[in-house]
Amino acid sequence: MKIGEILSIIGFMMAFSSYGQAPDSIRTFVMTEVVVGSEKLHSDTLQSFYQSNTSATTETILSRMSGVSLVRRGAYGQEPVLRGLSGGQINVTIDGMKIFGACTDKMDPVTIYVEPMNLSVIQALPGSQGGQFGSTIGGSLNMKLAEPLVGVPGIHGQAGIDYQASAGAVNAFSSANIARNTSAYRVNATFRKSNNYHAGGGDEVAYSQFQKLNVGASGKWVLGKFDTLQADAIFDQGWNIGFPALPMDVGTATAGIYSVGYKNSTPWWFFRDIRAKVYQNSIAHSMDDTHRENVPMHMDMPGKSTTTGGYLEGSVGIFREQKTTVKAEYYSNTLIGEMTMFPAEGPPMYMQTAPQTTRQNVGLYAQQQIKFSPKDKMQLSARADAFFDRMHDGIGSQQWEVFDNGLAKSTTRILKTANASFTHFISGNLQVDVQGGYGERIPTLNERFGFYLFNRLDGYDYIGDPGLKNETSWNAETTLSYFGRNTEFRLTPFFKTIDNYIMGRVVPDLTTMTIGARGVKQNENLAWARMTGVDMLVMFSPFKNVQLVSNNKYTYGTNSLNEAMPQIPPFKSVSSVRLQLAKFNAQAEYEWAAAQSHISSSFGEMKTASYYILNFRSGWKVNSSFQVNGGVENILDRNYREHLDWGGIPRPGRNFYFSITCKF
């Protein structure tokens, strides 16, 4: 990767110099080992800031990204939230591949099935900017897979082990690149075993344990001068994943993710290059209550989600200076969530909480970059999607008949997404971006067809509404960026309005299914919801070896019931000071979140107090092979929780960690 290319995908640089190489205004950071030459120190700081420690999980890295938060129901399996929107409101893709969790209770956001060892870059594209990865209102998180590097024959890689004291957790990870002249292979593995962690004050948090194994393998073959073939496979299995905020844990969660991609950069017809990929992934997820005490009735809740798809993407050189990208994609996702309950007496009781359903999607996307002058450029993108949902015959569709609502088992919908952004260089180091767009998103299969899905937060059983309308959204943001000699600053205020905002409404005359549930809610479209907020990032380097990074995010949301939108995080700021010497680095972090009192009590939210914690991290490069890291998180052993943490479960208290990484 060339320096310019790296810079272009690091959002701070805003990519003007590398025009035409990568989509602009992508807030990204580089996660794994990348050769960035003179920029190494710079990106290293960001990488260290985002990754926090060498064994951080994908979700931990996400949580430190600009605009990203996590809904936390357990120590692992946290759901990404992009500027207050989550679930079906955002796309979470792996290298452009669609993948959908199999758990009806959102215990398996797909980010749990990939490890940083699998990845090179995580892209966060808020709002309609995310249209490249699917129709959306909230944006897209795309996790790019690490590619094998072809070159001088040899084997290079790293291996490490890490210990986290608070949970008695051991993480082991390794990756290796096997390079040949015309081919390369990359293998990687991650193993994690975590016991219950201890909250601030020392209390053990029961059911917060987890274990997982992730293995990835990729091959790349250079077929000709300009074309390559690549195949990727990831196998990920987690087991005994505790969810202290939920009534059940995860017995096993298994994913197989497979893809074959082809790239050709030979100019052909009016295409400059072509990228094609076909993929298949399947997730099997099963909840488990056998470790819990006082379970009123034991139940099995397996879920399965299988997605097959492909895309064809190319750059079109119609105009010499202006770049056009077009993409056509298709996927088919089949989802089923089952529940079998075992009463003390009588036969087992079976139902499909997620009736077996298949969703097919065809999407067309086009993006046009227009350069008006060296100081002004524009990017336009548009997307159209056709969705075809079909409920399979069987118990799941029979269940739905009881609502006597003339359920159409097959529906087709057309969705539109469009975005425009404009970049203007005010002066050599000051830039302004203005972006606006429109997006639509189809309700998820569970929002449409879910059948008595229990939501622990508000205590209601949720049933879907097959006739639920699409959420539609207008969004606008502007980014002011300043790049000084030793200061970088980016301020992004944003505004979004969502029509047909989906929320549950209490249906008083329906009886609950879940023992102890407070009632039944059905998803409905509210008239609107509005969000406003700001992301701010400051980097400051007062001395050569000292860097300060401050990442701040704030969102405020209200819906047409004049109530707070649920699951909106309060203002949060993470500031780090880093000292970087030749062989030694040290980083102190101050993490602060405001109290959240603008809450959705109908969604069962509690007010959350303000908190702050302090972290300390350090690293020592022993020699060219060995790196030792250690630190302590939540030094003051504060007992705290973030607003999106469910069930009032506190976060980990003081945690010492230590890791050794060996590069070879």
Binding site: P343, G346, P347, M349, Q398, Q399, V402, T511, M513
Partner: protein
């Protein structure tokens, strides 16, 4: 004591459905008893007829739809024009009694004569059931009776409820699912008889408030339809089951102005 026989116009919707579930009107089934079990057979002496009794399952205490298949005892020809009276009899140590019976008037449907018996109790140590079918063979203008030994099973849970109102009026209550029970929406039928002057007569004035529930979970299901009167002591409603397992059909009964309390039947939906 003579068995009292109620001849009713059996409302045929569900019977037709059962009979034609595998075939259309234009193509009579080659084997009319396919899917049914032969309960018993006997010769009606004097009517020159052999009478076979078929049903979807073995006879049980409760409402049993049955089918009579009648052939000429000499030629084996199927008789489709006959008049039938059914007389079930429970003989006990010191007494005997009958139970409600329904017979469809008219010609056989698809070679079978539909009928139904609401057995009020099972065969057992208390006594045993016998069944007599009197056949008027319109083909040969002969008539005679066939006697059957039958065994009526007790089911657990029970599918019949025999009870008295506070005034002493006796009721015979049973139910059926004409198309079977499944997860989803089900046609649900309640059958109610009482006695008048020693005869079984259909109850025509019941109002039924129907709430299915899962005893193990203490929840119900939405959008059920209370069974309402159709004909001949039959009440038709909708029962919605949201999952498999054991369900309790709670029927709060009022006959005219008289509250009869709540009667329940437990079932298992597979």
């Amino acid at each position: 004591m003579n068995a009292s026989i109620i001849k009713t116009i059996f409302f045929g919707g569900f019977i037709t459905t059962l009979l034609f579930s595998c075939s259309s009107d234009d193509e009579p089934s080659i084997n009319p008893t396919e899917g049914l079990t032969k309960i018993s057979e006997a010769y009606a002496n004097g009517a020159a007829a052999k009478v076979e009794i078929w049903a979807a399952e073995e006879l049980f205490a409760g409402y049993n739809p049955i089918y009579l298949f009648i052939t000429d005892s000499l030629t084996g020809e199927t008789i489709t024009d006959a008049h039938i009276t059914l007389s079930p009899l429970m003989t006990m140590a010191t007494m005997s009694h009958s139970c409600p019976v329904e017979v469809t008037e008219g010609e056989a449907v698809n070679d079978l004569f539909p009928a139904a018996i609401l057995f009020s109790m099972a065969s057992g140590e208390m006594g045993s059931w016998s069944l007599e079918a009197h056949i008027d063979n319109h083909l040969k203008n002969l008539s005679g009776s066939a006697a059957f030994d039958i065994e009526v099973k007790a089911t657990t849970p029970s599918r019949v409820s025999v009870f008295q109102s506070e005034a002493g009026q006796k009721y015979y209550l049973s139910y059926m699912f004409p198309k079977g029970m499944k997860v989803g929406v089900n046609d649900f039928e309640v059958v109610a008889y009482t006695t008048k002057n020693g005869e079984f007569v259909p109850v025509e004035t019941l109002s039924i408030e129907f709430t299915p529930a899962m005893p193990a979970m203490d929840h119900g299901s939405p959008n059920n339809a209370n069974p309402t009167y159709v004909a001949s002591g039959h009440y038709m409603g909708k029962a919605n089951f949201t999952m498999t397992g054991e369900w309790r059909l709670n029927l709060a009964l009022t006959d005219g102005e008289t509250s009869l309390g709540t009667r329940s039947f437990d079932i298992v939906v597979n």
